[in-house]
Symmetry: C2
Subunit: 196 residues, 2 copies
C-alpha cells in the first residue's frame, strides 16, 4: 500500500490492464484524481468529456472515464464507498484559499498534482478538472450545488482499471476551511495499491 | 451586429466595462462561449471554478463567471432566453463526431475556437470547457443528464459584461447529429454586438 500523505500528492504509472485501488483509510478524505496518457500527457482524463459520454454526473461501477480525446482511460470497476464522488468542482488552488480568507500559503490540490508528478520527473500540461473521489457535492434541484462531508467509511475504496498506459495522480485534499473532508475539517492520509 | 456564421467561430476583444450581447437569431442555436484574459490567455473563464463560486450549475442574471484563478471575468447581466444554459459538457470535437458515426471531417466547436482566435492572431492555450449558451442539458435526478433542444426563442439574447480586459470567442455549434440545436438538427448563424 502506497501512502498519499495528508495534504499531499502522489503519482504512479499504470500499464493498461492494471488497476489501482484507492482506499479512504480514515473514511472522510477526498482524493482528487487525475490520469494522463503516458505517451502524450496532453491527452488526459476529462470530466467534461466523461459526463456526456456516460450521460451522468457521477460514474457508477462499470462506467468508463474518458480523455479529452474521448477514449476510455480508466474504468470504475469496484466501489464500496457508497458511490458518491464529484466531477463538478475544480481542484483547490491558492486562489480558493485566499477567497476563504487564508493568509499566506495553503497546501492545495493543484500544487499537489504538480508535486506528485514531479516525483516521477513529469509535469502536468495543464490542471484538468479532477475526478474528486469520495467528494459529496449534491445537485439539489437540477441546479444548486452544496458541499457536504463524504458518506464514505474508513477503509472503503474504489478500484479503477487502466484502459491505456497512463500516469495516475492523487491528492489527499488539504481543504480544512469547509467540511468537504468531514465535519471536523481535518485532512488525513489516504492510500492506494496497484493490482495486477 | 457581428455574425457568428453557422457552424463557425468568431472572436472579439472586450475592454473591462464593455458588454457583449449574444443573440440567438433563429432561436435554437447553441453558442459555445469562451473568455480569456487579454494579457495572459492562460487565465480564462472556467466552468469548474465558476460552479463552486456561484454554488450552481447554471449562472443566473447577476452571477459572475470566474477564471481558473477565481477572478470574475464576465458577469451575466441580462438574459431573455429563459435562463437555460450549460456548463457541464465539453465543446464538440472531431472525436465526438467520430463516435457518432461521422466519416470524414465534421465542423466542431473546438476547431472553431482556434479558428475564431486565429483571425485575431491568437491561439488558445488549451480548450477550456465552454459556457454553452442556450444549451439545454438537464440534470434529471441529481445525476443523470440529457441533451434536449433549447428553450430559447428567435431574437432572445444574453448580455455578458467584461470585468477584465479579455478576448471572447464564440462558436455557433455545428452539431447536426443530435438535437441540441433544435429538433430539426439544422445549425444556424447567431450574432453578437459589443455594447458600451
Amino acid at each position: 500500500m502506497i501512502e498519499i500523505p495528508a495534504r499531499r500528492g502522489k503519482a504512479a504509472r499504470l500499464a493498461a490492464g492494471q488497476s489501482v485501488r484507492v482506499v479512504n483509510t480514515y473514511g472522510s478524505q477526498v482524493v482528487d484524481t487525475w490520469a494522463f496518457v503516458r505517451d502524450d500527457m496532453r491527452e488526459f482524463m476529462s470530466m467534461e468529456h466523461t459526463r456526456i459520454f456516460i450521460s451522468r454526473l457521477i460514474p457508477k461501477i462499470g462506467d468508463p472515464l474518458v480523455t479529452n480525446h474521448r477514449r476510455p482511460i480508466l474504468t470504475l470497476t469496484a466501489d464500496t464507498s457508497g458511490g458518491i464522488h464529484d466531477t463538478l468542482v475544480a481542484a483547490c488552488d491558492r486562489w480558493r484559499y485566499e477567497l476563504l480568507g487564508c493568509v499566506g500559503y495553503h497546501d492545495n490540490c493543484t500544487d499537489n498534482l504538480a508535486a506528485g508528478l514531479a516525483e516521477l520527473g513529469l509535469a502536468p500540461p495543464e490542471t484538468p478538472a479532477p475526478l474528486n473521489l469520495f467528494m459529496n457535492i449534491p445537485v439539489l434541484d437540477g441546479n444548486r450545488i452544496d458541499a457536504l462531508p463524504p458518506i464514505s467509511t474508513p477503509g472503503s475504496h474504489v478500484t479503477l482499471r487502466a484502459e491505456l498506459d497512463c500516469v495516475v495522480a492523487f491528492s489527499a485534499c488539504p481543504q480544512d476551511m469547509v467540511p468537504v473532508n468531514g465535519a471536523n475539517m481535518t485532512p488525513t492520509a489516504a492510500h492506494f495499491e496497484i493490482l495486477g
